[in-house]
């Protein structure tokens, strides 16, 4: 069973832990989480008003968190008017002490004081956060988890590895073995049905005997004091209504203003969590509820008092209700402009399921003290402090798959970037480091904690410029054992990974050698007149991202040829790096400065009505997503509205009447069938909804593209180069490679995707534009 991670591990230790989890828990986690992710995506697709629902849900959360102090007052009044109690607990110790008091009080009033007081619990991450079980047990109280997954973990003395499916990392065989060993049944457990039946009986008895029922709360309606519990098993209902005392524990962020505000969440939460249309039980309790308490120790007494008027709510039974609202850092998160969004999270786990790294290693690697997956960074930083977040935060590669899965549209990668940035700024000073001295950009002034590898990858443009200027020497050098050893020990670049090969002539230089803008204009005009086509009237600035400019110049050249062939004159100016590389290392100040530089460098072209055409999807994603945080709104919108992914752009030209014959179409072009081809989009490109235009373009050009179902190649930029993540990167990459193994031609839009696939498939993988570009 996994142990919680401990802080400040070395690269080797991290690598060893990841390897161990890949072997022990990876398979089970992958099976469950990838299935849930697929179901979530499918049901989002099938839900007509999904975008409205998500927008509404987010707006309600924004408003609720904004008005949180006021809602706390409202809910207190409502619950007290109903006859219950509200306690706002400052931290874990405060909350635990309060609950222990309630349980002790209740047990004191019993007739039979021989047994220890007992509590039945329904799954609650909030009580995991405060380690409630341990606290109650220390107080001599018996605690039983009643959610089956949570109970398995209790028996196994293990910790949850997923917000929604806590025991997802254990297979049925492992559970059967565990239970057989622990409970010594007459017949060995084999099937899930046998295990479930055993659990039902065992836990049913605990519930019937319990003094107090403890639940979480998915949402709390301030206006009426109603709480919503969302479950599939029914245990939350039993825990809440069977004993005469119910304690509900929820973070303060769970408050919603009114009944109506519950609606989009009830509609969304199961869709996001498990891909079900709605969960089996949405229990909306306004405690103390009218239900009679159940005393199974007195089996002959009617459950309802004789005076209970069956058709009305009736007289109130002897019930006690306590709502414990936990702060534990949340009110500070509310004041934090970057972490506040975390409080909108409804803990559905969709982000975890959609994350390929999570799918491979699960929450025991990709999580902190309590929470796991992408959003755990925000939660852990807020409730347990940055150190807890630092343990796993690097596992977010910024692929952004989670962004479209999140029902409240939280920009999870951004929260991860922000926390990386904060960790960079507070860490220990790195020891003397000759290789990367001089690589620290001046924008990151306080870089004492910035690890050398991060500095290296964050400044990859400087490295690439140098590498290109000294190619081929730099390439030969990079392949020597000595250099690889050095790169590994100083920068953590895994020696098993092929390094990019720098071109001696950059794309920008090549373009100048071809005659620059003037020659491009002539070529474009010639092409337009050949095709007898009308002047398309567009001009493009091709963005020479670091890789296209220094490493994969072929795809840049192909883009130039394609655009010119379609009558679009091109310029390829030497533009600043987008800031993508420093962003991925959490170097926000550097990225911010580069965003401004880049905008300054293209502003004139944009003013002149030229289009910025981008080849590397991650750079386009920076322009379309992250720049919103880095540039003034008007600049951001201007850049976003005038920058295009290259295949999308070309498809747009064809859609507007330009003739596809100018391109290198597949032979089967006119057949219905098309030439089969495998195409892997790029994670960030997919988030932007830009997979479809490339597929459509390929189809227009006579291909029959098959797209990958795996959303990320696992390399995600610098991630896969890092020693500690090499195996994980390959594990993810292998799933993609397996899908494409039998395909004759494979193309990919991103550089790292292409590199990863080339390594795994041991053959060439080019950019789709290289396939379509005409020869000159």
């Amino acid at each position: 069973m996994a142990e919680r991670a401990h802080p400040a591990r070395s690269r080797d230790e991290t690598a060893a832990q990841i390897r161990h989890l890949l072997e022990t828990e990876g398979e089970a986690v992958h099976a469950h989480s990838s299935t849930m992710s697929a179901r979530q995506a499918q049901i989002y697709d099938e839900t007509d008003d999904i975008e409205t629902l998500r927008t509404d849900a987010r707006a309600i959360k924004e408003d609720a968190i904004d008005r949180l102090p006021e809602l706390l007052e409202t809910v207190r009044e409502a619950v007290e008017a109903n006859g219950g109690t509200v306690y706002v607990a400052e931290d874990a110790a405060d909350a635990n002490a309060y609950v222990a008091d309630v349980v002790d009080d209740r047990a004191d009033g019993r007739d039979d004081v021989a047994d220890a007081p007992s509590v039945v619990k329904s799954k609650s991450m909030t009580t995991e956060e405060i380690d409630l079980n341990e606290a109650l047990e220390r107080d001599g109280i018996d605690v039983y988890e009643t959610d089956l997954g949570e109970w398995v973990l209790q028996v196994a003395d293990d910790t949850p590895s997923h917000i929604v499916g806590p025991a997802m990392h254990l297979s049925r065989e492992e559970i059967a073995e565990l239970f057989t060993e622990r409970f010594d049944p007459d017949e060995e457990f084999e099937t899930a049905a046998q295990l479930t039946e055993f659990a039902r009986d065992y836990l049913g008895e605990r519930i019937r005997e319990a003094d107090v029922g403890i639940t979480g709360a998915n949402f709390v309606v301030a206006e009426t004091g109603t709480m919503a519990l969302v479950t599939n098993e029914g245990n939350a209902r039993k825990c809440a209504v069977t004993p005469d005392t119910h304690v509900a524990i929820a973070g303060v962020e769970k408050l919603l203003p009114s009944v109506r505000d519950l609606e989009p969440f009830v509609d969304l939460i199961a869709k996001s969590a498990t891909g079900q249309p709605i969960s089996q039980y949405v229990t909306m309790l306004t405690p103390p509820t009218a239900s009679p308490t159940l005393d199974f120790a007195a089996p002959d007494a009617p459950i309802a008092g004789t005076d209970a008027d069956a058709l009305s709510a009736g007289t109130e039974p002897d019930r006690e209700f306590h709502l414990v609202l936990l702060d534990n850092g949340r009110l500070d998160m509310r004041e934090d402009d970057q972490l506040r969004e975390t409080l909108y999270c409804v803990r559905c786990g969709a982000c975890s399921n959609s994350c390929v790294n999570f799918q491979s290693v699960g929450g025991h690697a990709f999580g902190g003290e309590t929470y796991s997956g992408g959003i755990a960074t925000g939660w852990e930083a807020g409730v347990h402090g940055q150190d807890s977040a630092a343990e796993f935060n690097d596992l977010c590669t910024g692929c952004s798959q989670c962004v479209n899965a999140c029902p409240v549209k939280i920009d999870i990668p951004w929260i991860n970037t922000v926390v990386k940035d904060r960790i960079n700024r507070e860490g220990d000073a790195e020891s003397y480091d000759f290789l990367v001295d001089g690589l620290t950009p001046d924008a990151e002034t306080d870089t004492s904690g910035l690890d050398s590898g991060k500095r290296f990858f964050g400044n990859i443009s400087t490295v690439a410029k140098l590498g290109s200027a000294t190619a081929p020497v730099s390439n030969w050098l990079a392949e020597t054992g000595l250099v690889r050893t050095l790169l590994e020990s100083t920068l953590g670049i895994d020696r098993r990974r092929d390094l990019p090969t720098f071109q001696r002539e950059s794309l920008v230089d090549w373009f100048e050698a071809q005659g620059g803008v003037a020659a491009s204009r002539r070529r474009a005009e010639r092409a337009a007149s050949h095709a007898n086509a009308a002047d398309v009237g567009r001009e493009a600035v091709l963005y020479p991202d670091v890789y296209t400019n220094y490493v994969d110049t072929d795809r840049g050249k192909a883009a130039v040829r394609t655009l010119e062939a379609l009558g679009v004159p091109v310029s390829v100016p030497d533009l600043p790096e987008s800031g993508r590389a420093p962003l991925s290392q959490g170097m926000i100040a550097t990225a911010d400065r580069q965003a401004s530089r880049l905008y300054g460098a293209v502003a004139e072209d944009l003013d002149a009505g030229r289009d910025l055409v981008v080849i590397e999807p991650s750079d386009l994603a920076a322009f379309h997503r992250e720049y919103e945080r880095l540039l003034p709104t008007r600049s951001f919108e201007r850049l976003r509205d005038n920058s295009y992914e290259v295949c999308h752009y070309v498809y747009g030209l064809l859609e507007n009447g330009t003739d596809a014959d100018a391109l290198a179409t597949a032979d089967g072009g006119t057949d219905d069938q098309g030439e089969p081809i495998a195409y892997h989009s790029h994670c960030q490109q997919r988030t932007l909804g830009l997979e479809a235009p490339t597929t459509a373009l390929l189809e227009r050009c006579g291909y029959a593209p098959r797209t990958s179902s795996v959303e990320c190649c696992g390399m995600a930029g610098s991630f896969g180069y890092k020693q500690e993540y090499y195996e994980l990167s390959m594990d993810v990459g292998n799933r993609l490679a397996q899908e494409f193994e039998s395909a004759e031609t494979v193309v990919a839009s991103g550089t790292s995707c292409g590199d990863q696939l080339e390594t795994l498939l041991e053959r060439d993988v080019s950019h789709p534009i290289e396939l379509l570009a005409p020869d000159r």
Partner: protein
């Protein structure tokens, strides 16, 4: 309205593998008697001309609740979109009777079947204003925590809905 709300409700329930039967009010008592497995517990039904059959023990004791195979309760309303029944907590024990036995028979008036979740919330507002508790129950209790999907963990593993046509 021409949209067949009850028809939509039926289809949703079928896809949840929940039994569904439409019965005229006059036949309801008899049909309930035919549907249940012994021993059965229940709470009084608020529909005109419909009562619990003799085989159903109303005002059950805790022991009878524990031993019951079937629980028969009214539903406050149904939501066609999802095949949901809304069970209100009452002092008579609608909640435990619908929850403890492995087989739950929910009785809902055809006129109380609303088209979608939004319409369900319209109804809910009134109940919440009266500080009531309601559960939206959709299908059968389920878990996949033991490795495969299994029904009937803590809640009922079999559910039937009877729609009373109260013309």
């Amino acid at each position: 309205m021409t949209i067949d709300t009850v028809g939509r409700f039926e289809r949703a329930l079928e896809s949840l593998e929940v039994g569904i039967e439409r019965v005229p009010a006059a036949d309801a008592t008899e049909r309930i008697a035919a549907a249940i497995d012994d021993p059965a517990v229940g709470v009084p039904l608020p529909f005109d001309g419909v009562s619990q059959p003799d085989a159903v023990t109303t005002a059950p004791t805790a022991g009878e609740l524990e031993r019951a195979r079937t629980g028969v309760t009214p539903a406050q309303f149904g939501i066609a979109e999802y095949g949901t029944v809304a069970i209100r907590s009452t002092a008579a024990g609608n909640e435990p009777v619908s929850l403890y036995p492995d087989y739950h028979v929910a009785i809902v008036a055809a006129s109380d079947v609303v088209p979608d979740l939004g319409a369900g919330f319209d109804r809910l507002e009134k109940h919440f204003a009266d500080r009531e508790s309601i559960v939206f129950a959709t299908g059968r209790s389920a878990t996949a925590d033991m490795g495969d999907l299994v029904h009937g963990v803590h809640g009922p593993g079999t559910v039937s809905v009877m729609v009373v046509e109260d013309r």
